[in-house]
């Protein structure tokens, strides 16, 4: 069994609804998509739902290799990035190959990836995360209520530019989740818009009314001092990590006690890298939380991590050319038994999307908003539907 080739299919997906955070309150409903197909000499293909840069160059290190040797191949690819660094869009390429290799490894065992990774159950606790900064109050309620009706008992609200609105919308989210739990879990996410001290003041005022589990990205991704300060000075825990790329990025945060939860995802150098981060966190007694993924496919990895808490579910409707074997039930992502990721690409629908790219609005990924860390630039009139009386 040898790896023989790869191809990347890129497309644009128009989601069923827009998503936003405080960096771009108006939101986007158009996302770039990529699918990596990793081919072998035995008619089995591994897939990943992402791609990166420099993949032709990285491919040299896995071409002709046995995909089952995925961890050894990770080291080879990582070593090749020694000078340029396993960072940014190059890192996404390594991640994509690693994910496709694990898909192959599981398919060769004829097992779902959660089983190949050794989980006892293909089941991961979910929390709802609207990426909801562009939703009206009613739309906000409807999203969290829909997930609460599927048993989800915790939610994470986007915040950052308007304390009064943030407080009101926390209440709306709590009310919506109340059908699933008398005391739903509440989290907030500021996407690094605040300085550490702004975060302390803002979160403290929220905490006069609400009990928050964690505040996500309340300060800069590298600022272990500031993140620790926030963690010490508010009741909520601090969660961070989504914008880091490999386990060595996490070392300063963990060594300095800067975070209470680590957000992990595919961008952390694939399944292999994600597991390294989770094990480093485990060594420091810190839990991890898997971030959202198209088709929830990273739930396979989350299921096998012993210190995994709950996984983010955004569910904006971005799987139009995919079929996938998992569902939300009783507040859990329940994974099926289809081999590998359990994700199939509908090639006809993919081609249709490529031939007729959808139209939409917004810029992704979100650029950093003016004023970040210093002053608040509120949404312009009409930019969001939830500002009242302005």
């Amino acid at each position: 069994m040898k790896i023989t080739g790869f191809r990347i299919e890129q497309y644009l997906m128009r989601m069923d609804r827009a998503i936003a955070d405080c960096n771009l309150p108006g939101g986007v409903n158009l996302l770039p998509g990529a699918i990596l197909f990793l081919e072998t000499d035995e008619n089995i293909t591994g897939i990943a739902l992402s791609a990166g840069a420099g993949m032709d160059s990285l491919f040299r290190f896995i071409e002709g290799a046995d995909p089952r040797e995925v961890c050894g191949l990770w080291v080879k690819m990582n070593d090749s990035l020694h000078k340029i660094g396993n960072r940014g869009i190059t890192s996404f390429g390594l991640s994509a190959f690693d994910m496709a290799l694990w898909d192959l490894k599981a398919k060769l065992e004829d097992a779902p990836l959660w089983r190949t990774l050794g989980a006892r159950e293909g089941r991961v606790r979910a929390y709802a995360s609207g990426l909801d900064y562009c939703l009206s109050d009613d739309e906000l309620f409807a999203f969290y209520r829909r997930l609460a009706e599927q048993g989800v008992t915790a939610g994470k609200l986007k915040v950052g530019l308007d304390l009064e609105a943030d407080m009101r919308r926390l209440g709306i989210m709590r009310e919506a989740l109340s059908v699933a739990s008398k005391k739903p879990g509440l989290m907030i996410d500021a996407n690094e818009y605040w300085s550490a001290k702004q975060a302390v003041r803002w979160i403290s005022r929220m905490e006069q009314q609400y009990d928050l589990i964690w505040a996500e990205e309340p300060a800069r991704r590298w600022d272990y001092h500031g993140l620790r300060q926030v963690s010490r000075q508010v009741k909520a825990g601090v969660a961070t990590g989504e914008n880091l790329h490999s386990v060595d990025d996490f070392y300063p945060l963990l060594a300095n006690g800067a975070t209470d939860v680590i957000n992990v995802w595919t961008g952390h150098s694939g399944v292999t890298g994600c597991r390294q981060v989770a094990n480093l966190a485990l060594a420091h007694g810190v839990p991890v939380s898997m971030m959202n993924a198209q088709a929830n496919y990273m739930a396979h990895v989350a299921a096998a991590l012993p210190n995994h808490w709950m996984m983010e579910v955004v569910d904006p409707g971005r799987e139009h050319c995919l079929r996938y074997d998992n569902r939300i039930e009783d507040g859990f992502i329940v994974l099926g038994n289809s081999p590998g990721w359990g994700v199939d690409v509908d090639l006809k629908k993919l081609k249709a999307l490529q031939d007729n790219p959808p139209q939409g609005k917004g810029e992704f990924p979100f650029p950093r908003r003016e004023g970040a860390g210093r002053y608040i630039v509120p949404p312009k009139p009409g930019e969001v539907p939830w500002r009242s009386g302005r």
Partner: protein, 363 residues
């Protein structure tokens, strides 16, 4: 597929070059589809294995080795007989999984078939042993070892023995790499005093401390006071025993001990260590199966070898050549048991101090 049974066979065998015998146990996990996973241990763990099987394994899917490990180790996070039993079970589960895949273990773990640097390791006062120097010289000549570790059994580090090791491993190609493992015999301050004296004569690559002296503070003190790398991990359980070490960055070279961490815990520890590129040494495991793990771990320095060739009771497929160890290509851990020899060596119990109970034929 479900796990249906766990059986343990105790045995004694004459150890090469020793007048006394060595003891061991063979664990076999069976399934409802007729496949068996095996692991070789060095203690009588029949009682904890039986209890763990009842509580955690009976009827479970054997492919969930990590999931089962996490549940069992939560109940037994610290060293002890139960923890050693969990570790042995974990090895047997991985052996089973690799056999189910018809793969050698290293492939199931996702590694490449890496040749890992081998470090010859011997206790300084092995009873009835030949002169330590002769053993090390033998490993150099036959197997190309360039690295040696002396394990202290008394409350001292024997400079004379260390010199024998160094001289035995020396060859034209350069100085051998030397390590000393003090086990739990010496506290940090004594280690520092002794090692600083020895470092006038020797270039010691690492100095290992063991429980109860392997504290984070002690190791930092050693690391800051001697040139050698402060080393620990033998007998330490991941993650519980490692929290302080990671927080204080007190270990310069971490020993990954399958005897208390199994394979699942060993892989986890190695991945955590990679978080700040902490080099890993794989502690010797029966049958040298630890060699299978090297290729799946991102930052392995070497693998300790205490028994270059296993006893006549079983074959391992692990080959040592030119100072490097390589796992074989047969399915699972590659251990094949000579059933007839095992039957002859089987005993009913291992006496408490591990002293000889003459092998009796199994009735």
């Amino acid at each position: 597929m479900k796990l249906t049974g766990a059986s343990t066979t105790l045995f004694r065998y004459p150890a090469p070059g020793r007048s006394s015998s060595r003891a061991g146990s063979l664990l076999e996990l069976t399934t409802d589809e007729g496949m068996t996973g095996i692991a070789i241990g060095d203690a009588d763990l029949r009682a904890p294995i039986a209890a763990l099987f009842q509580d955690f394994l009976k009827g479970e899917d054997p492919r969930a080795a990590p999931g089962l490990w996490h549940r069992m180790q939560e109940a037994h996070p610290r060293a002890g007989r139960a923890r050693a039993a969990i570790a042995l079970i974990d090895v047997a589960l991985w052996d089973l999984k690799a056999r189910m895949n018809n793969e050698p273990l290293w492939k199931t773990l996702g590694g490449s078939r890496l040749a890992v640097n081998a470090c010859a390791s011997r206790a300084d006062a092995t009873p009835g042993a030949r002169d330590a120097g002769a053993w090390f010289e033998d490993t150099k000549h036959r197997l190309g070892f360039r690295s040696g570790m002396l394990r202290s059994t008394g409350r001292r580090i024997d400079g004379h023995r260390l010199e024998q090791v160094r001289d035995a491993l020396a060859n034209g190609a350069g100085e051998p790499e030397l390590g000393v493992d003090t086990g739990g015999t010496l506290a940090a301050a004594e280690v520092i005093r002794r090692v600083r004296t020895l470092e006038k004569r020797f270039d010691i690559a690492w100095i290992a401390l063991g429980p109860p002296h392997a504290s984070a503070r002690g190791l930092r003190q050693v690391s800051d006071s001697v040139r050698a790398a402060a080393c620990a991990g033998r007998g330490l359980c991941f993650p519980r025993d490692f929290h302080r070490h990671f927080q204080q960055r007190s270990i310069d070279l971490v020993q990954v001990d399958l005897r208390v961490n199994g394979i699942t815990g060993a892989l986890q520890l190695a991945e955590a260590a990679y978080g700040y590129e902490l080099p890993v040494m794989l502690c010797a495991a029966p049958g040298n199966i630890h060699v299978h793990l090297a290729g799946a771990m991102p930052y392995v320095m070497n693998a300790e070898i205490t028994e270059p060739a296993p006893p006549a009771l079983y074959r391992t497929g692990v080959r040592i050549e030119d100072g490097r160890a390589r796992p074989g290509k047969t399915p699972g851990t590659g251990i094949t048991v000579d059933r007839a020899a095992l039957a002859r060596a089987t005993v009913d119990r291992l006496s408490p101090r591990g002293k000889t109970a003459r092998p009796r034929r199994k009735k």
